[in-house]
Amino acid sequence: MSEADATGGFGGAARGDASLSGNPALVGQEAVRLEGVHKSFGVLEILRGIDLSVAPHEVICLIGASGSGKSTLLRCVNLLEPVNRGRILLWGQDVTAPGVDENAVRRHIGIVFQSFNLFPHMTVLRNITLGPIRVLGVPRDQAEEAGRALLVRFGLSDKRDDYPDRLSGGQQQRVAIVRALAMRPGIMLLDEVTSALDPELVSEVLGVIRELADAGMTMLIATHEMGFARDIADRVCFLDEGVILEQGPPRQVFTAPVNSRTQQFLRRIVDAGRL
């Protein structure tokens, strides 16, 4: 991925960005705060009271068994699923209250879906410039220039004019990441964002995430890759049966879990040689 070097790193200039520090009242406030969030599909209760507060810059990894509700939680945060009970606050503002402009909220949140959900009728470049052009009102040429630079960064420059159905799994996943990044959100929700990537790319993405965090982005990452979580997370949250059973810095959770269910989950992983 040698093209990447040409465009330089990610963070830098954004650190100490005016838009963040320009609002003194908010400095030090949580970027995301979930209070007793409940979510059911029909009779099936998936989230049973999630409390979580995420500081700006913080990188949180959600781990837990398949079907434990990680994806659902992320979808709730950017209001794609309405919660049944509880509140979600972004930078101190309750976004689950009536009268909130969902579109304004989502403009500040990027999400990478587990199944990518690329737009099949658009080329890769149009996929990633749609948001900037139609939502942020960026002129097309600027959006495309920015988009092209991002594609280079992710080793996709030769796929710019291809349609998503012609891409490999890992290529699609990277396009999905770029699409979210192109909106330059304040918060990113990443759902299994390395599942289709080869190890080289995983470490590349790991680097990107570090830079973004340094630049002030807040991230919520659902992942099954414990090594990845250990490397990237400021805090790991273990989700089980709809509640956060245990949370803490990765070293603590992975090496000295207090909850017995967490211990069991991790023991099996270690036994299988997967951590």
């Binding site: 954004a14 960005d17 908010l26 599909f41 699923e81 009268g99 579109n103 909220v105 942020l136 830079e211």
Partner: protein
């Protein structure tokens, strides 16, 4: 070139991937362009009132306009509507109600044949095997011709043409049969195209999955593609059902089939009022509206079953 907007920094500044920090307080509040534009009760009131006003206005037009009484007399004459529905041989009036039975008969027979025949054509059109190219061409020519030619001409062609050929078996059928043949020929072309749209809407990866199980081309179509295809195209299929139901009326041009509309037409030209047409129209509505409601429920059930328990994003 800085882009104006609520964000700090220019968009093109490559170094600044994270331009947005915390948005200003209150910036998520509805700004009048979101989906909460109309909030709660007031909005409900607005939309109810506007609907009532619209419908009321249409009705008022027929009640208060200068010529309204004459229009009502011609189109909505209860006495003559009843007469048209029942018919009255002593006055040479035909029964629209009895005619409707014929419409329904023709519709049902034709529809079954169409659904089958159209499927064959649609499938022929999907064939990519080069050796079957002539069949594909045949299917293409068929749809082009029979969509292009007005149904009435097909009906004339079959109904007047076949008897004129003096071929045993072909030339001695009843108008009812000729009519159904013409309907099937014409509508199969349309319905085949509807099927085709449905088939095209199913993603290739579904076919790949089906074939990878060892299902033959036909079985993939039968069990994987068509069920999804048909679900998608229920509304336009229903369009064609309804059109067919109405176009059964055209068979009456052959003379012997006095269906509802022909009966209405005779009654109206005898009595010089159009109320009999109103009766026919109302009867057709009584057939089509329940059908539409039924398929709507079908679609809704299908969607809710398959989609998220809360397929909630609008």
């Amino acid at each position: 070139m800085p882009v104006r907007g609520s964000r700090g920094g220019t968009y093109l500044d490559q170094q600044t991937l994270v331009a947005a920090g915390a948005p200003a307080p209150g910036s998520f509040e509805g700004n009048g362009r979101g989906s909460h534009l109309l909030g709660g009760q007031r909005a409900a009131a607005v939309s109810t009132v506007s609907t009532v006003v619209f419908i009321g206005g249409v009705i008022a037009l027929f009640v208060f306009a200068p010529g309204a009484a004459a229009v009502r007399h011609t189109f909505f004459n209860p006495q003559q509507m009843k007469q048209a529905f029942l018919g009255d041989p002593s006055k040479g009036l035909y029964s629209v109600g009895k005619g409707l039975i014929l419409n329904i008969e023709m519709f049902l027979i034709a529809e079954v044949l169409i659904l089958f025949f159209a499927l064959v054509i649609a499938v022929l059109r999907q064939l990519r095997n080069p050796v079957l190219f002539p069949f594909r061409m045949l299917a293409v020519v068929y749809t082009d011709v029979f969509r292009g030619v007005p149904l009435i001409i097909v009906i004339y062609g079959i109904g007047f043409g076949a008897p004129a050929l003096y071929i045993r078996g072909v030339s001695t059928q009843s108008d009812f049969v000729y009519g159904i043949v013409a309907l099937v020929l014409s509508y199969s072309a349309y319905v085949a195209e509807v099927y085709r749209a449905g088939i095209n809407s199913v993603h290739q990866s579904q076919v790949a999955a089906a074939r990878s199980l060892g299902l033959s081309q036909w079985k993939s179509l039968r069990f994987v593609v068509l069920p999804q295809a048909v679900r998608t195209v229920i509304p336009p299929l229903l369009n064609d059902f309804i059109s067919l139901q109405k176009d059964t009326a055209l068979v009456s041009t052959l003379g012997a089939v006095i269906e509802a509309n022909r009966a209405a037409q005779i009654d109206s030209s005898t009595l010089f009022v159009y109320s009999s047409y109103t009766v026919a129209a109302l009867l057709f509505l009584c057939l089509t509206i329940p059908l539409a409601r039924f398929t709507d429920r079908l679609i809704a059930r299908d969607v809710s079953r398959r989609m998220a328990g809360g397929a909630t994003v609008r």
